[in-house]
């Protein structure tokens, strides 16, 4: 007995000693960044202990089943559609040579440039009575056959068609860089193209597919605008309903927590699925995939498959928007619009920079620190993406306001004067909230490129007495630069499209294109929303095209 006790004490002491030995400033920096990012999330979780409001019973009885079934339905249908659109196209453009392949490669990313609620408006408008479809059919003297898109499946379609590029991008990066040796080996063993794809390539591409898919599914869970307009009740519309219509923020927070559980369940399920599989690829400099040329007929067939999602995800909604823009531009477009675009661009640029720096800092400080649990903790940084923008905004407001009150007291006691808010209501708070929300978007591409860099070179550098920072800039940075840039662009585009968080936290006199588009749309002037929407699309399209160049460049 005594021995055992001694052992225990010894082991705790031992552990503490080890902790002390292993801790370095990187542990502290990791902890700091994680806390900074997790603070709003923790605030929300802390609010949970207040319990739900009295309407909770009502929600459980009358609404929860609907929320769960609709959200799960969307998750499943969107997963299937996104796989179909994203993986098929990325494989075809990576593996085959066909007309317009180069153009289609970047066109396939463009649906990302359109906020999904705007795609929803465009489709609803196109298929509406007196909408474009009817006009076209009338022009050809056809009977009007109405396609009803404002339902659950329509919503899943709209979300998938505007979000599938996340899967396309991550999967294609894998196909381009990793698939060649697999294909070669498979061919040498005499396995056919079809079987190689399904038995070898697809299973190995799973981490890449899943990485894109998780982003898509979180966006799906987060969507408010499209679901609200289509009349589909989901968790997120439920959050808004209990917060605003039932006037119970605490119930809304409770629902968000449930949503969070759903997201964790998704992530854990995926982890469990691949628990025994190890993915590794020792060769960092693999050869580019070798493209196959096929018969003209097959090429045409492939072309048709690949262009379909581009058509539905980009050209049709954009055409609808352009039509509306032509009808309304005289009342909407003016000089202030250009300033608005510039401002939006600036905010997105600033946010993307901050977020990428934070994500890189988090990844590398976690790597350089030597305490195991802090390494795991660093993954907490990506939580913000799972929480609806409006809830993140509240999570940011509560602590920043508390800090502000304290700062104002300090200021008052020193100078005797009072001052306004120092952080709250400034660009700082807004950018902070964006960073919390979008850290996951930056984290994933940077992390995946970092994982590909083998540790031996940086280790060698450090053995030779070069510091962490210098090693990073001399060795790791050039290797992960593409990952950082794609992270930058993804965050940039996301900020351009972001709505609920911006609405709550934007400073006086600051406005964004998304907010302007929403103002029109919420006033049922969807047509007038076309011009700001087109501005968002074109501002976002430029970096998106650039992103493609980056991914393709050797």
């Amino acid at each position: 007995m005594k021995e055992a006790g001694d052992n225990e004490i010894f082991s705790i002491k031992n552990r503490l000693l080890r902790l002390k030995r292993d801790s370095n400033r990187w542990s502290l920096i990791t902890l700091f960044v994680v806390l900074l990012i997790a603070l709003p999330v923790l605030t929300i979780i802390f609010e949970l202990f207040e319990g739900p409001g009295e309407s909770w019973v009502h929600i459980v009885k009358n609404l929860l089943a609907q929320y769960v079934s609709n959200s799960v339905y969307l998750l499943i249908v969107c997963s299937i559609l996104v796989l179909l659109f994203g993986v098929t196209t990325s494989w075809l453009v990576s593996r085959y040579e066909f007309p317009f392949r180069k153009q289609l490669e970047w066109l396939l990313i463009l649906p990302l440039a359109i906020p999904s609620y705007i795609v929803a408006y465009a489709y609803a408008g196109a298929f509406d009575y007196g909408g474009s479809l009817e006009l076209i059919q009338r022009y050809f003297g056809m009977e009007f056959t109405r396609i009803d898109i404002m339902n659950r499946f329509g919503l899943a379609f709209v979300l998938s068609i505007s979000l599938f590029p996340y899967v396309y991008v991550s999967t294609r990066a894998f196909f381009l860089n990793q698939a060649n040796n697999l294909l070669e080996a498979s061919r040498m063993l005499g396995v056919g193209e079809f079987r190689t794809f399904f038995k070898l390539i697809l299973p190995l591409a799973r981490p890449a597919i899943i990485a894109g898919m998780i982003l898509v599914l979180m966006e799906v869970l987060n969507d408010y605008g499209a679901a609200q307009y289509f009349g589909v009740h989901t968790f997120t519309t439920g959050i808004f309903r209990s917060w605003f219509s039932l006037e119970e923020p605490e119930t809304a927070i409770y629902l968000s927590a449930l949503l969070l559980v759903l997201v964790f369940a998704l992530i854990l399920f995926e982890k469990w699925q691949r628990r025994k599989i190890q993915y590794s690829n020792e060769r960092t400099n693999t050869e580019r995939i070798y493209r196959k040329t096929t018969s003209k007929r097959k090429q045409f067939f492939i072309f048709c498959i690949v262009i379909t999602p581009v058509l539905f995800g980009f050209f049709i909604p954009v055409a609808q928007l352009i039509y509306w823009a032509v009808l309304t531009y005289s009342s909407v477009f003016d000089y202030s619009f250009l300033m608005l675009s510039l401002q939006t661009f600036g905010i997105a640029f600033l946010t993307a920079t901050v977020t990428v720096v934070l994500a890189t800092l988090l990844i590398f400080s976690a790597k350089w620190n030597r305490i195991g649990f802090i390494k795991n903790l660093s993954r907490l940084g990506v939580l913000g993406y799972a929480i609806p923008g409006a809830v993140v905004a509240i999570g940011v407001m509560i602590p920043t306001l508390a800090l502000d009150r304290w700062l104002m007291d300090v200021y008052a006691s020193i100078s005797g004067n009072t001052t306004g808010f120092i952080i709250h209501g400034t660009l700082f708070a807004l950018v902070y909230a964006y960073a919390v929300r979008f850290l996951a978007v930056a984290y994933n591409p940077i992390e995946s490129t970092t994982l590909k860099v083998s540790n031996s070179i940086p280790d060698a550098s450090k053995t030779l007495g070069v510091g962490n920072f210098k090693t990073f800039f001399k060795i790791e940075y050039p290797l992960i630069k593409t990952g950082m840039l794609s992270a930058f662009i993804l965050v940039f585009v996301d900020v351009l499209k972001e709505l609920p968080l911006t609405l709550i936290l934007k400073p006086f006199q600051v406005n964004t294109l998304a907010v302007r588009a929403f103002e029109y749309a919420s006033d049922e002037r969807v047509m007038e929303a076309a011009i700001p929407s087109l501005f968002i699309i074109f501002t976002a399209a430029i970096p998106v095209i650039f992103l493609n160049k980056l991914l393709v460049r050797k």
């Binding site: 219509s245 009808l327 049922e524």
Partner: protein, 339 residues
């Protein structure tokens, strides 16, 4: 290096600070984002020299923001597009009572808060839009009568998440009690031609296309459609008639845009001046002529569109009641399966 320069450039773009909170300024938190309002802000600036700062967001978010900001909130004036949310702002202790002779003389009693914490600035009526070729308007009478069996599968209306539906049900609760309201919801749900979706404009289009015969909609949106830049929409409105219900009973249900002075307004004087300006004939005619809303100041001439619709008797129930019954209304909607 190039990147650093770029970042600096961008940063310098945003060196604007939050300095505009005190002095000769007015900070407005508003749900309204119409050209008419921009025009009025400008007009107010020109007349008084007071600089107007605006935050646009949904009223719900603004209320949340104000209550988190507490006594340090820079907000002077809160403007919403429905009475329910003004009432909520009041019960959350975010507004203050205002005594102003001008406001008292112009704003009718039922269009303002009992304790003078908020005042209506414009009105919108909720009406029945019917298909001219299929419905004889003499068959129509009240919102209550829409539960009649003869309208089975004939009615289109938007989701219960919409505040105008919530306010309509709140008025029915206030007029007839909860039991009746519950039956009314059940009756309407039974008569729906489709599950609720889309906005008010979509309901009108559905009637024009024959998906239903009747739609419950807001006059404001009909005004927008009649004057739309899309010829298809204008055409839609030509097959639609407007019926102002409940003329023989309570009067047609109305909702308002309204404004209140924030409890901790740093520029209270300016805020009162602004409210008085909003109900002045000058400002009211801007609303009435450009935004298809009814003015609350009766001395003001209205636009051609409103004239064409004609006069109607409005429900003079105090609009605070809409706010008091809003939550109950939402619960009744959910229980009755009105999506």
């Amino acid at each position: 290096m190039k990147n650093i320069v770029l970042v600096l450039l961008v940063l310098s773009l945003f060196s604007c600070k939050n300095q505009t909170q005190k002095g000769d300024v007015l900070n407005v938190y508003t749900h309204r984002h119409y050209e008419s309002d921009q025009e009025l802000f400008k007009l107010f600036e020109e007349k008084t020299g007071i600089k107007v700062n605006v935050i646009n967001a949904s009223a719900d978010e603004l209320i949340q923001k104000m209550s988190l900001e507490g006594r340090n909130s820079p907000a002077d004036v809160l403007i919403t597009v429905d009475a329910g949310r003004l009432h909520r702002a009041k019960t959350s202790d975010l507004l203050q009572p205002i005594s102003s002779k001008i406001l008292d003389s112009i704003v009718p009693a039922h269009l303002k808060d009992k304790d003078n914490q908020w005042f209506a600035v414009t009105k919108r009526a909720r009406v029945i839009a019917y298909a001219k070729d299929r419905v004889n308007p003499e068959e129509l009478s009240t919102f209550e009568a829409l539960t009649d069996e003869k309208w089975h599968n004939k009615l289109v209306i938007r989701s219960s998440g919409n505040i105008y539906n919530q306010s309509l049900l709140a008025s029915i609760i206030a007029n007839h009690g909860e039991e009746y309201a519950k039956e009314w919801v059940a009756g309407i749900v039974k008569n729906m031609a489709r599950t609720p979706r889309g906005n008010d404009r979509d309901q009108v289009k559905a009637v024009a296309a024959g998906e239903g015969d009747l739609a419950i909609v807001n006059t404001y949106y009909i005004g927008l459609m009649e004057n739309s830049s899309n010829p298809e929409e204008v055409q839609v409105t030509q097959s639609i008639g407007l019926f102002f219900p409940n003329q023989e009973t309570t009067g047609t249900h109305i909702n308002v845009s309204g404004a209140g002075v924030a409890k901790y307004a740093p520029n209270k004087e300016n805020a009162i001046k602004f409210l008085e300006f909003l109900v002045s004939e000058e400002a009211q005619s801007v609303f009435a002529l450009s935004n298809y809303e009814y003015p609350i100041n009766n001395n003001v001439e209205v636009s051609e569109t409103l004239k064409r619709w004609g006069d109607f008797r409005e429900d003079t129930m105090n609009l605070s009641l809409l706010g008091e019954n809003n939550k109950n209304a939402v619960i009744l909607f959910d229980e009755g399966g009105w999506r």
